[in-house]
């Protein structure tokens, strides 16, 4: 009976210990989420209480109403969508072409090029932020969608190029060669043959780029200083900035923003994790 469900070598005591550790860690990992649920359901009058119940006694949805309809949540959502979607689509297009070139062509500067793409990952954004800010300011892109879109493309491109290059490497060249013989040009080969074959990797890259830009705070915080242009991360951070932070409204806004992302991540996690190792086997 026991051996059907558990490893044969695992004794009962060992199984109990394993479950205890896993359950304690699972509680720790979900607790903060439960904490936001709890606070978002509290009426403003009982915000400061040492009650630890998840569903408060006098629970209310007023905070959600305020967060979504009194505050300009729609505007922030629109800003986030514009900046994330445009930068994701452009960065994926640039990455497909660059990844394809690195995979299929042997050209002067190829190795240096690929290495520099990798190096941009080793030295990430925060150090480049100040010069970037001054640069964007000189181009008049502060408080302009472009001031978010262009840095986000640069943020997403290096990782995407590497993933896509690795995946293209695993597709046999014979597919394209026969197409070239039939008289197809480079553009047709890429869009009609390579792109459909590379869909799993393109999916990973799309999702990863979208998430990275959707949740980005550090750049958005300095570029979008105008309340009208805040993206969701900046808007939510600023809800806590005021002296009398209204944690109930803050938590309601957090929940509404986080739940779709969490569902998307968890439901696609197998796909995402598999994708991270897609190109890993080949050079």
């Amino acid at each position: 009976m026991k051996s059907e469900y558990f490893n044969k070598q695992d004794s009962l005591l060992k199984i109990i210990i394993i479950y205890t550790v896993l359950i304690v860690m699972a509680i720790i990992s979900i607790y903060p989420l439960l904490d936001i649920v709890k606070i978002s359901l509290r009426p403003a009058s009982s915000l400061f209480t040492s009650d630890l119940n998840i569903i408060p006694k006098n629970f209310t949805l007023k905070n959600f109403e305020t967060a979504l309809f009194v505050r300009p949540y729609g505007t922030w959502l629109k800003n986030s969508l514009i900046v994330s979607l445009i930068s994701t689509v452009l960065s994926v297009i640039f990455s497909i072409t660059a990844g394809y070139a690195f995979s299929r062509f042997r050209f002067k500067g190829r190795n240096v090029g690929m290495l520099s793409f990798l190096l941009t990952q080793i030295f990430p954004a925060p150090m480049l932020l100040l010069p970037t800010y001054i640069l964007l300011r000189q181009f008049g892109m502060i408080n302009h969608y472009l001031g978010g879109i262009i840095p986000y493309i640069a943020l997403a491109v290096p990782f995407s190029v590497w993933i896509l290059k690795g995946y293209f490497d695993t597709i046999p060249r014979s597919f394209e060669e026969s197409a070239y013989i039939d008289g197809a040009n480079l553009f047709q080969v890429m869009t009609q043959i390579m792109l459909p074959l590379a869909m799993p990797a393109v999916g990973v890259v799309l999702l990863n780029s979208f998430m990275a830009t959707w949740n980005e705070f550090v750049t958005a915080n300095i570029v979008f200083t105008d309340t009208e242009l805040h993206t969701l991360p900046v808007a939510i951070f600023n809800m806590t900035g005021a002296l009398s932070a209204d944690w109930g409204i803050f938590c309601a806004a957090c929940l509404v923003t986080a739940i779709p992302v969490i569902i998307l991540y968890i439901s696609l996690s197998k796909f995402l994790i598999g994708g991270l190792t897609l190109g890993g086997t080949k050079e």
């Binding site: 860690m25 903060p32 989420l33 904490d35 030295f123 925060p126 480049l128 959707w214 969490i262």
Partner: protein
């Protein structure tokens, strides 16, 4: 066809390369240039070159060394705990266990929650008196931990938050690596009479190493450069004693508008990371080929 082909790769990589040159290459050079000037909010347009003055003033300031040391402590503690917990959980999950998929999803949640929301929630939980953690500690009879007002405890709070954020990534990577270890190795070890602990020490950990080392390097760099957690925990004007190098740069530049000093800091951080990365890449090459 051949003539067209030789131009094709350059045209294909051009958009990506141009964006990176504009957003990474140029800012890098601009930042180095800025570090030799006195640009700040008062001298935004009429700045002058001041040579190595900024470097001298930073490198002779004791605070630079305490901040650098704090950054190293921060990175080592965070990476150590997230890797240890991540590998431990992966080993526990890598067996037949009813309900394990459900537990795995719960354990991955910190990775799925948008990072800024997670950090701000932790900050709320660390609030004095009405924060969840204070309430729990009070019930255990521990009082008077000034989480967000005492710099030392603020720093501890940042570490707890960051470890919590870092565990799932390590767990997922380690779990993937564990599943790729051939089961026969363990069966042979079992036949040879190996105990469970020996099994992990002599088979699991050496085989995890090649997968974990790159993730270790990446997460060290991420942790070293973690602005989000520190900045959001401590606010716009956070205490000097809780800052790490990058959060210091972020604050100097965007709260105090001291551009040239922040740029100098950035160049110094860049050099530290470059040395770290090159040492590590060398060390990594020594670790390849465990199956040989």
């Amino acid at each position: 066809m051949t003539g067209k082909k030789s131009m094709a790769p350059y045209l294909l990589i051009a958009p990506a390369v141009l964006v990176l040159l504009f957003m990474i290459g140029y800012p890098l050079l601009y930042g180095v240039n800025l570090s030799f000037t006195n640009m700040n909010l008062m001298h935004f347009r009429n700045y002058t070159y001041v040579g190595l003055t900024n470097y001298f003033s930073i490198l002779t300031d004791v605070e630079f060394y305490t901040t650098a040391w704090r950054t190293i402590v921060w990175t080592v503690i965070n990476v150590f705990f997230s890797v240890s917990f991540g590998v431990l959980l992966a080993i526990l999950l890598n067996r037949k266990l009813p309900g394990k998929n459900f537990l795995r999803i719960l354990l991955m949640l910190p990775w799925a929650i948008p990072q800024y929301i997670a950090v701000l929630t932790w900050r709320n939980m660390f609030q004095a008196q009405y924060g969840t953690i204070d309430i729990l500690l009070n019930k255990l009879g521990i009082t008077g931990v000034a989480w967000l007002s005492d710099p030392f405890w603020t720093f501890i709070a940042c570490i707890i938050t960051n470890v919590w954020l870092g565990i799932p990534f390590m767990m997922v990577i380690a779990l993937g690596a564990l599943q790729s270890i051939p089961g026969e190795l363990y069966e042979v070890a079992l036949l040879d009479g190996a105990k469970s602990s020996q099994k992990h020490w002599f088979i699991t950990l050496p085989l995890l190493k090649p997968v974990m080392v790159p993730s270790l390097v990446i997460s060290s760099v991420w942790t070293f450069n973690m602005v989000n957690v520190i900045f959001m925990m401590t606010g716009r004007t956070g205490d000097n004693q809780t800052q790490i190098l990058v959060s210091r740069v972020y604050r100097d530049a965007f709260t105090y508008f001291n551009y040239s000093k922040a740029a100098t800091f950035s160049v110094i951080i860049f050099l530290i990371l470059a040395i770290f990365a090159s040492v590590f890449i060398k060390a990594m090459k020594g670790g390849e080929g465990v199956y040989d």
